[in-house]
């Protein structure tokens, strides 16, 4: 399972890096999205990979920490998802604004000289 997760994160992040180095704003945006997915996955596995352990235990008494998954990375990743989503949406708006104003979707705001 570790290898699958590690590969998934690596491929997502690598694809993201390639895309943010592309000259079109839409590619940059998708690259940022892929990278943020990779980072979110990364945070959630930082509490270690476990099977069959609930993050929260509702019941009486103190739960045994060895039987439950670490809930903190899940809380962190939730915050990270929300913030990442909002800032990416903001970027999308700026991107559309730039497209309307400059008439091109190149990140430099002008087409490169041919």
């Amino acid at each position: 399972m570790e290898v699958v997760i590690a590969l998934a994160i690596g491929i997502l992040f690598g694809a993201g890096i390639w895309l943010i180095l592309r000259p079109r704003t839409f590619q940059v945006l998708i690259g940022l999205l892929l990278m943020s997915y990779a980072v979110n996955l990364f945070i959630s596995v930082m509490g270690r990979l476990w099977v069959d352990r609930p993050p929260l235990v509702l019941g009486k008494g103190l739960p045994d920490p060895a039987t439950v998954a670490d809930p903190l990375p899940q809380a962190l990743v939730l915050t990270a998802i929300v913030i990442g989503f909002a800032t990416t949406a903001l970027y999308l708006v700026v991107m559309i604004g730039a497209r309307g104003l400059t008439g091109t979707d190149h990140v430099d705001g002008q087409e490169p000289e041919q």
């Binding site: 943010i20 704003t25 940059v28 940022l32 990278m35 943020s36 980072v39 990364f42 945070i43 930082m46 509490g47 270690r48 903190l72 990375p73 962190l76 915050t79 990270a80 913030i83 990442g84 909002a86 800032t87 990416t88 903001l90 970027y91 700026v94 991107m95 604004g97 730039a98 104003l101 400059t102 990140v107 430099d108 705001g109």
Partner: protein
Amino acid sequence: MNPAWAQHLIMLPVLLPLMCGALLISLNESRHQLKFFVSLASALSMLAIAITLVWMTDSGQWPRGIGVYLAANWAAPFGIALMVDRLTAVMLLLAATIAIAALLYSMQRWSRIGVHFHSLFQFLLMGINGAFLTNDLFNLFVFFEVMLAASYGLLLHGYNATRLRAGIQYIAINLVASLLFLIGVALIYASAGTLNMADLAGRLPGITGDELVLLKVGVAVLAIAFLVKSAMWPLGFWLPATYAAASPPVATLLVMMTKVGAYVILRVWLLVFSAEAGAAAGFGFNVLLVGGMATIAFGSAGMLATEAPGRLAGYTAIVSSGILLAVIGYGQASLISAGLYYLLGSTLALAAFMLLIELIQRISSSRAEMLALTMEAFAIEETPEEPVGVGIPAAVAVLGLSFAGCALVIAGLPPLPGFVAKFGLFHAMLNPDAPNASVTPVTWALIALIVLSGLAAIISLLRFGVRTFWAAGDIKPPRLPATEIAPIGLLLLLCIALTVQAAPILAYLQRASDDLHLPAKYIERVLSQPAVPGVQQEKEAP
């Protein structure tokens, strides 16, 4: 004084701008006078709070001069702890001062060329204050994002093609930096099991082997995110273009934001990688030193190469960042107080310079042109009315004098604080703390770089000044509304006050620096802050 009440002061620099910004959203744009005054009232209250906090940390109101606020009453390290010590208090004071200057400047025109200027302004302040106050790495991320999201909006304020272009790059770079921040935070949590800075510093000596390697990787990745903010070479290429594109009050706040990056580096490094950290002690200081020196060289070269005033100001900010990073990386305790003094002086002067540049540009370009430029795309139907206000006589003389004042501080010439700061830095470097330590070639290299950066600043500022004021030929004195020249005067007066009161201020900063170099006390203080006994606990007790 009632300590229970006083404790909530720590939270106010975050809550006040949040409430105020939210309130301002609901006010219609046409009521800009009202919006301005609400915004100004908030900034003035922040100034008052910061002054109170400076006084409280320094007068023994709190044990060890550190105030701790436990958010939602969860004891550290389980909950988020906000923390104010002398350094935090003085940074809050600096932020509030700069905010007031930027607000005053924006009143006449800049706040009116777009929507929600004041709300974004308040949210940006909230992020900056929060980043100064927090003692939790993930909470720091949240405050950084608040600050950045507001800065994206403000950078695009009064939007035209230049600002959009700079904005797209600025946002993309900062989004990537935020992702790196998250990776760093996740790695630190995975290896140390905590995100509370005090707890992390306390646990570090016990971390060894693979976990320590993982932690170091995490902190290094985290540092990249901070260093992008503080524009260390080669992470600072975004800065000149962004500063040049931003409207002047916004550029002033951006200057403050680069100092947030430097502040976080200072705080985290001195706390976590202090001499008491065991195997990880001193990790990364060399990188900061070399990076800082490269930044100074890059900034100086940029200053000499550029002719555009906006970019010139950007490069001076880079040099100032570089000096700070090199001072932190130098790793000598006695250097930090002079470094902090340099931070205060250079930030005030740079802020004044950012505002001044636009006024100076009015000499050469007429008002109509400028307005057309900024309103190109905003599709404002009604133009803002002509500024009402007293035009200052002898406008060009005032501008020239202010410019000379800024240049003196930035280049580090006597009698202004730039000189005092550099003198203090050189003095500390040539008198190492450790007995029998000799002055190394690295020291000479750093001193030479700082002196040369001063020379580069003199040359480039002089060139700009001569061309603008003396060799411009037919100068048409611009109208200077009092609200636009007053903040510049205010900032420069503060610079002069910094010099006049150098002794008490340096003594205060020395105490702040002493606090920073005793991480054990800090750790103990934060982790031992008792939670307020609540109703629930009393019920459950029997």
